[in-house]
Amino acid sequence: MNKALRRLLILLVFICMTGFLLVACNNDSDEEGSENKETENTEDEKDDNEEEKEEVESGPQEGGTLTGAMYSAPAGMFNPIFYEEAYEANILSFTHDSLVSQNESLEFIPSLAKEWETNDDQTSLTLKLEEGVTWHDGEEFTAEDVVFTYKSMSDPDYVSAGGIRTAYVLPLLGYNAYSSGETDTFEGVVADDDYTVTFHFEEPNINPLYYASFPIIPEHIFKDIPVAEMPEAAESRDAGAVIGTGAFKFTNMIEREQYILERHGDYWQGTPYLESIVWKVVAQSVMTGLLESGEVDFIADPNGIPPADFETVQGFGNIEIIEQPDFGYQLLGFKHNHRTGEDVEAGALEPDNWVPNEKLADPKLRQAISYAVNREGLVDGLLYGRGQPINSPVATQFWAYDDAAATNYNFDPEKAGSMLDELGYVDDNGDGFRDDPDGNEWILNMDYPTGNELREKSAPLIEQQLEEVGINVNLRQPKEMTAYVEELTNDNTDWDLYLLGWSLGSADPDPSGLWATKAAYNFSRWNNPESEELMQKALKAPEAFEQDYRAEVYSEWQSIFSEDLPALLLYAQNSLWAYNKRLQGVDPLPYTMYQDAHLWWVNDAN
């Protein structure tokens, strides 16, 4: 064959391939392949027509299917008392109800319980239940189901069977005796009659409704299954066998791919408009594409859409985005103390044995470091502005959040520098980094975990910002989360700075789970008697029955936190939930999008 022709052919093959690559990389550009556009347009037009028709008719339409997406498949545990992950919660929040839920100001509002009262010292809470509520299988919901739920969670076998929600039953009257098997009588939750149930607490309880906010499971389904065997029972994991009182029934699944919910016709708040909701498991990398093409209608917890995709998704035109601050936050922790080797070995948390971390001992030092970190910069650069720096470890949505009480560590490298100078941290040996007041090298070790892409990116940025004010940071290789948490816990190490994120609930702002001296999650090993006293004061009955009183105590605590700095709070990322505009009736709450799903409807149902 002719040589020139051959070359031409090779060239052609090459061009085709490059072209193919370019087309594929065109992701962000607005011009899409024209033919594809056409097919989509026809669909859009159809949608549009229906929307127009819809406008004339107005009002919710009956029927239709909605497709939700999550990035990871649920582990497969659809029993509220045993599930662990947000992926299961996605399904359970449609299939199960609790006695009480929360409104947009995070106050508890009626759900399965229509009214309630507490006694004077708040050691008991009596709730009147809705009558005529039916389970998915038609049985009636009664107070016995409530008792059964809490009894199962207090069962001696509950924890060893894999249950982790003991926080909801710990304060109940007689919990210890019942859960250790000393007695067979469960006194914590008592059914007074079919529609009245009373929670009894060991001590006066400042937030009793929180304990009544757990989803209820049916007694008639589980009564013959010992708690130890509940996790493997079909009733806890198989579509069709899982029974709740929620607006949707979990009827079918293709495991790890699709989870199908169908409406519960007899739902006590009225028959849902939607025929069914299908959950699909999709890879995050293709999520935006599927939203655009309409293959997926909504994406919310636990990840929503990534901040980097916000503008792309907004540009689609067919997608509504709900942007709200998240309850969790990311932090740069300061190791105040380390534990001794023996304590780590024995798993003991004995503040008296703790070894102070001399490298970060002075609060002024930690403040100086905090001024050197450009938190606004992180939010703008990494989160594309979809978040905010926060100053206090209490979510901004809470009544307890007090921005004024906490010091705002605005990015101020000069101030950081002069503070360090004052403290005697200056460069003695001329290596460009500050040395400690004794003239010794001062190197801060910094560790961070993998798993959160934005946090991973923030580590080298923070290192750079600190080095700009002359702090020598030894940024070490990131560790996989499992390994990281182990080292964070077993902290007889040389750790100084660490990155971590917390996702927190909406129930109560009490920070003691993370910041109390002896809390296992107090990875900074922060030991501040003042803070300790305030945290306990905020939970002490009877004064703490008053929310205003607690708010006051917490604002004092927030000020101590931000002065003593067990950690610099970096930012709270906004949650970005997205849904297709065909979905109507969405009424998001600060902590969930799945509020009143029975009122959701789609405008192209007919």
């Binding site: 594929a24 791919e257 499992t482 390994a483």
Partner: protein
């Protein structure tokens, strides 16, 4: 021959025991355990996890844990997953392995259908335009990372053109019978091509060079000198000899069928063994890690055994006794 096979299979046993000890040691030596990686949740008392560790025997010395696992395994009990509460490992694996095998076989068939004819053609007509095209494609296939190709394929063929589904193994619960079969194939096209891409390139190159090699050898010249037709030289002499390295490759592929699709499975949210394996490693789900590793070990050993047996069929000079 039979003796040979039996001997080979007996050798598997000590190898698998060794393998299990090494993997168990490595898995437990990795920092953390099934509970350290749990989402940190301040409402959950860490004491709860200690109690669960105790219940699962994770606080026992590692040799004790190994022996407990090994005795159960010897009885055919794969154990219970520590991450997927209340699920036994056998059911977890059997549920996933089907998908992985379908996908693997689909990709392999696709690979062979494309690679072998092109390889032969390239060898017969070296330096022809098609040979150059194939070579370019070969390097492209080897050079493009799987996940990248997968994403492009999804973007172009699933999202933009809408020809193939982007995710999963089946469109919905309602398709059954032959429609289900077609639907599954339809879902396998993109992941199958993605998975088979690098393999196709490799097989094609191997096939080409082997056939070229054999074509230049003395016995082919002899055969041609005897006046045999081109066709019969090709099929009777060349191919048989050129197939030997390909069979070795396929022997390895047999194990890779089960394990090789990890990345592709992730990109396509395809629930197979690969994703299960990765998840069980991140979650330190020891029983699942152990069972899958052993399974892969067995698959690779069997693959090699099959390859050895096939040698003797393809090449009569090779005999085992």
């Amino acid at each position: 021959m039979h003796k040979y096979i039996i001997r080979r299979i007996l050798v598997f046993i000590p190898m698998l025991i060794m393998l299990s000890i090494i993997v168990f040691a490595l898995a437990t030596a990795a920092p953390g355990d099934p509970f350290t990686g749990k989402i940190l949740d301040p409402t959950v008392d860490p004491e709860v996890f200690n109690e669960q560790r105790e219940a699962l025997g994770l606080n026992d010395p590692i040799p004790v844990q190994y022996l407990r696992w090994a005795t159960a395994m010897a009885k055919g009990d794969f154990g219970e997953s520590m991450y997927y509460k209340g699920r036994d490992v056998a059911s977890l694996i059997s549920e996933r392995i089907v998908n992985t095998v379908y996908l693997g076989v689909f990709a392999l068939v696709l690979t062979l259908i494309v690679a072998i004819p092109i390889g032969i053609y390239s060898a017969k007509n070296p330096y022809s335009p098609l040979d150059y095209g194939a070579t370019t494609f070969g390097f492209f296939g080897l050079a493009v990372p799987n996940f990248f190709f997968g994403l492009i394929a999804i973007y172009v063929f699933a999202i933009k053109l809408g020809w193939f589904p982007a995710q999963g193994t089946i469109s919905n619960i309602h398709v059954t019978g032959f429609a289900e079969f077609l639907d599954r194939i339809h879902h396998m096209v993109l992941p199958g091509i993605t998975l088979g891409l690098a393999g196709t390139a490799t097989y094609m190159r191997y096939m080409r060079s082997e056939v070229l090699d054999v074509l230049g050898s003395d016995y082919i010249r002899t055969a041609k000198a005897k006046g045999m037709s081109d066709r019969s030289v090709m099929y009777k002499h060349t191919l048989r000899n050129a197939m030997i390295p390909i069979i070795t490759l396929m022997g390895f592929e047999f194990g890779a069928l089960l394990s090789g699709a990890i990345i592709t499975e992730q990109v396509f949210s395809y629930p197979g063994l690969g994703t299960l394996f990765i998840n069980s490693i991140t979650n330190r789900d020891y029983p699942v890690i152990m069972s899958i590793t052993l399974l892969l070990g067995v698959a690779i050993l069997i693959g090699n055994l099959l390859a050895d047996i096939f040698y003797s069929i393809v090449d009569p000079r090779i005999r085992y006794d």
